[in-house]
Amino acid sequence: MLIINCPWCGARPEIEFRYGGEAHIARPADPSALSDQEWADFLYNRTNPKGRHAERWRHIHGCGRYFNAVRDTVSDFFVATYKAGEPRPDIAGETK
């Protein structure tokens, strides 16, 4: 079983977590000023990288908190996890 490090609880089994989509996507401050395309980009279009991806996870069957993780989409390796509100860690390197 994959082990995920919750920033609050530490190493916990994958089954306690839920995926929450790409991280660091801020809701536009003034949606009515956006074009339909810009709004669609905010709602639906994601980077979908092959490699390291910053994404939201929720420790739903644990502390209940949302947090962020950098995960390699090729190997499923969790490079780092960090609390919501913290900046994306500066992690160099490509897929490993």
């Binding site: 079983m1 609050w8 609880c9 530490g10 916990r12 089994p13 089954i15 306690e16 069957h61 644990g62 502390c63 209940g64 908190r65």
Partner: protein
């Protein structure tokens, strides 16, 4: 929804198995408390148990427990007590401070798992490392047992309590009874 009498009949029908003893815990006052910094100290003082700040640890005073469930979330447990006066005392102590306090006394039931194979039986459905090093006495956490979410508490090397939502209780009791069959 199984009432207390139905759960009592269910637990009394279980075979005695010394290695993993299962028993139903009695009614208790349960309060779900959520607050940021300003409310944490006063609520603990009013309840009589300081709310633990360390993740996944519980505080205890007499028969009352305060379980850390999240960085701003605690489950307050007082076996055999009435929730209303406890809630009133905490509300009075946190007046004017943003918080949430909900009486969830009847939502869940407590189950005790005791005996030398207690951790083994729990591990048939719970994926956590229940060794004493990883899950020491004094630890509590929400987790899963099979398909049911539980709050698991370690009170001793071979003594656990769990709290489970009432409608899942027959499933959890049945699951643990199945898990300990080899010790019958």
């Amino acid at each position: 929804m199984p009432d207390n009498a139905a759960l009592q009949r269910l637990s009394e029908g279980l075979r005695p198995i010394e290695a993993v003893r299962l028993s139903l815990l009695g009614p208790a006052a349960r309060l779900a408390f959520r607050s940021r910094e300003a409310g944490i100290g006063p609520a603990g003082e009013a309840f009589g148990v300081a709310l633990p700040r360390e993740a996944n640890r519980f505080g205890q005073s007499g028969s009352r427990f305060a379980f850390w469930l999240g960085p701003d979330e605690w489950l307050l447990l007082a076996p055999g007590e009435d929730a209303a006066p406890l809630a009133a005392a905490i509300e009075a102590a946190t007046l004017g401070v943003p918080h949430a306090l909900v009486d969830v006394s009847s939502r869940s039931v407590g189950i005790e798992i005791a005996g030398r194979e207690a951790a083994f039986a729990l591990n048939q459905g719970c994926p956590l490392d229940l060794s004493l090093a990883a899950f020491p006495i004094g630890m509590c956490t929400r987790t899963l047992l099979g398909k049911a979410e539980i709050v698991l508490v370690r009170l001793g090397p071979e003594l656990f309590h769990l709290d489970v939502w009432r409608s899942f209780a027959p499933y959890v009791i049945g699951y643990l009874d199945e898990a300990r069959r080899e010790f019958a």
